[in-house]
Each structure stands twice: as C-alpha cells, then as structure tokens.
Amino acid sequence: MEGINFDLRQQTVRDLNSFLHSAEGKAKRGTIEVHHPDGAHSIAAGLNAPVKVVVHGHAGYYAAGMNMHADITIEGSAGTGVAENMMSGRVHVKGFASNSAGASAHGGLLVIDGNAALRCGISLKGGSIVVGGSVGSFSAFMAQAGRMVVCGDAGDGLGDSLYEAVLYVKGSIKSLGADAQLEPMGAEDLQILSDLLAQAGMGQHSAADFKRVASKRELYHWNADANQEY
C-alpha cells in the first residue's frame, strides 16, 4: 500500500500530528515518512494506531510521546523525553537520545542504538528499554516495573529507589543508587534478556555477559533506625 510523505519545512508538526490522529491517518498501512524534522518538538506524539512512521533526521522534545500501537523510527537523535509515557508499540532511535528517554513508559519497546543521557527510564512503569550505548546518571530512578537493558556503561546512581523494575547492564556501573543491588542472573533473566536483545536487533550481545540490578526492597518500609543512611 502506498505511503505518505510529510516535509516539516513545508508543513507544521500540527499538520502531521492531526493527520496521524485522524481516522484516515490511523487506517494508513503504508509508511508515513517525515522529512526535515529539524529538531521540532512533539513529532508523532499521542499516536493510537498500528501505523508505521519514519522520521528522517533529528527529532526535538517528546517525540513519539504517549505512543500506543505505532512503530516509530527516528533515523537521527531524539531530544528530551522520547517515548515518554509510552503505552505500547515500538520506538527506535538510531542516534542518541537526550535526557529522560522512555520516562514512565507503561508498555512497548524503546530501542536506542546510541547513548541515552541522564534519567533514562525514570519512573519506568512496565515498558522495555534497550540502549545500545551507555546511559547517563540517575537512570531508572524510582522505576516501578519493566526492564531496562544497557549494552554499554551506566552512570552514577543507577536504579536509585528502585521498585520492581529490573535492569541489565553489560558494561561498568559508575555507582548504584540507594536500595539498588547487583543480583545473580537466573534462567528467566537470560531468557527475557535474550528475547529483548533479539527484538532490539542487538543479538550480537550475549545475555550471559550482563549483570542484573534490582531492588533491595529496604526502602519499602520506613526504618526509624536508619538514621538517614540508605
């Protein structure tokens, strides 16, 4: 089926997003190509249909935010908050991602081929994130559910105040946050991780080379004797 092209030097982001939110746009089964994104904000935000969108260039803030069902590829880098609050579907950033990538994503898969900056996966609520490069400091802060895979290194304070999300890191971890701990990889971890790496197109990494980070669950209950030492 024939695709459709948007050129953001000729059309506005509102033109694009209005189409993507319309009945016609939701029914589109070819690829929707977005040219000259030029770092514009909110490209392909709030989609709610199994459409395929390819962004040819660098996207600005909140690209593919709140995504449901759609498959969105960004050929360049993404600004702050890419795929924030994603519910389902797939978002693929081929370059790097700025701060707060995949923040509070409830579902779906976010793949970042390059590095992700600080606070990647903050407050993750069930989505999956696979980062081909490294993640910045305070990533997966207060992450509640879901999985984050880091094929490179992690910065300071990884998984601070973690709830039930599980993190897998292949490289070095500069420091773990409060209540985060390294745990042995189980058979289930290896299976889940291998599947995620395969889905992300990063099958060159072996699941056995990753470390598991999860919550100590010591912050779940108030401890009056902790004397502010966590």
Binding site: H36, G76, S98, L118, G136
Partner: protein
Amino acid sequence: MCGIIGLLIKKPALRSELGRWMTPMLIGMTERGPDSAGLAVFSDPLSDDHARKISVYSGLTALGSGFDWHALAAALEKHQDSAVTVQTKDNHAIITVTGDPEQAQRFIKAYDPLLHLLSLGRSIDLYKDVGMPAAVAQRYDFAHMTGSHVVGHTRMATESAVTPDRAHPFTAGQDFCMVHNGSLSNPYQIRRMLEPRGIKFDTDNDTESACRFIEWRMREGDDLKTALETGFDELDGFYTLLMGTENQLALIRDPFACKPAVIAETDDYVAIASEFRSLAHLPDIDHAYVFEPAPQEMYIWKA
C-alpha cells in the same frame, strides 16, 4: 528557560559568513527566550596594543537611539588626549580609545550615568537589548556581522527583571563574556565573596555573579580550564554556561544536566545551541558530528 547559541568558524576565509549563519540560530531559540536577546562577537584584535573597544548602550538615556555619540566622542578625546573613534547602530556604539581604557569607561559613565557599558577589549563587540530576538537582530544588523566566534542568548527572565542591562551576555574584565541557561542558587554567596575584593556589580542578576567569578579566577592567574574547575566547586544550581574569550569558546553543564545543549561540528565550524532546532539550517549539517555535551565536562574550542 532561555536559549544559548555559539558558533566558532574554523576557516578564516569563512568568517564573513558568521552573521548569516548565526542569526537564524539566535532567532531559532525565540520560544526559549522571547523577552531579550544579545550576543558578543569576537573578531581579530585591534592591531594597536594600546587601543581598546568599548561597547556602550544608550537605550536607557533620555535620548535613547538619538543619543549624541559624536559629542561624547569629542569630549572623551579631549579627556583621553588621544584619538577616539565611534561606530553607532541604533542604541549601540563601539567607541575605540587609546590610553587608559578604564579611565575612559569612568569618563563615559560620568558623562551620562544612564549609559550602560557593555564590554571592553581588543576583539569583543557586545550587543544586547529587550525585545524578540528577530527584532533585536534586525535593530543591530546581526546578519552582517563578521568574526571568528560568537556567543549569543535569548532570554526568558526568571532571576531578575527584564531590562537591557540584565539581558545576556554578561562581561567582566576584558574580552570575556558569558551566557547562561538556568538559575544559580548561590549568586549572593559569590557576590559576598567578590565584593570585599573590590569587584563591582552592575545588576542583581545571578549570571553576573558567575561571570565575574570566572573572570576573577583568570585574573588571579588561573587558565580558563582551572577557573572552570573551580566553578564546578563554587557555582551551585542549574546551568549550561557558554563563555567566550578573545580566542576560545567554552561550554559547561551542571552535574545534573538540567539545562540542555547540543553541538554540531564540521571541518568549517563548531556550533552550539540549546536545541537542535537552531542548528538545522547550518551548511552541511547532515554530515556534521552531532552530540550532546556530558554534564560536568569542559568543552573548550580554540578560534
């Protein structure tokens, strides 16, 4: 919010393009900073070692853009007992003096206390004013500026009032300027450290504290890198800071990277902006190396 831009032209033959490339960068950051705009442009230093350029703003005087700069120049010439030249554009003049430049600055301030001294140096010219970035750019003809590097800013005020003197860039000493996206939490602590050393402030703006602090460190003998390292220890708050000296551009972000920056580099230029939106029009951008500067790292480029 606020927007930051910086551009350093690597090939001297392309310095004539500075204004044409940089003006859309500045206007591209309008949404981040619609209340004021400004920039410092650095070009080849004056050939006379004893000559200095003083950028002066007349928008706060009674006559505003109708200020009689030539009467000031004539009086200053008499006072300095040496030649004075003046180039004017709307509210702005570049006054070139020989002899003691600080004495000349004092004379200008006494001549009309409502004149605002913007910068002093052998290579810096500084323009800033309130209004939309496109209007400020047009008022001072930014598009035709030439030079080796530029440091620019669009302001959305949070820490002090919207007035021309509180717009960025700020300067201290000679051939040094700073722009800031963010907010410092200890500007008064820094002021209280500097004021007993005789360092005077023009405004209550937080960025002015950081600017005067870094310049003071360099005057005390630190190189830029050492001064910035001290800055990481002393400056508390959120910041992306871009600084210009006669022959360098320097960029730092706070350890939490609260404020953005993105860099594009080609064989022809290094371009810095708060967001990629301001870089998208640059020549050969599709083949530029585009990256995000890491928090608490120093990025210094030589012009």
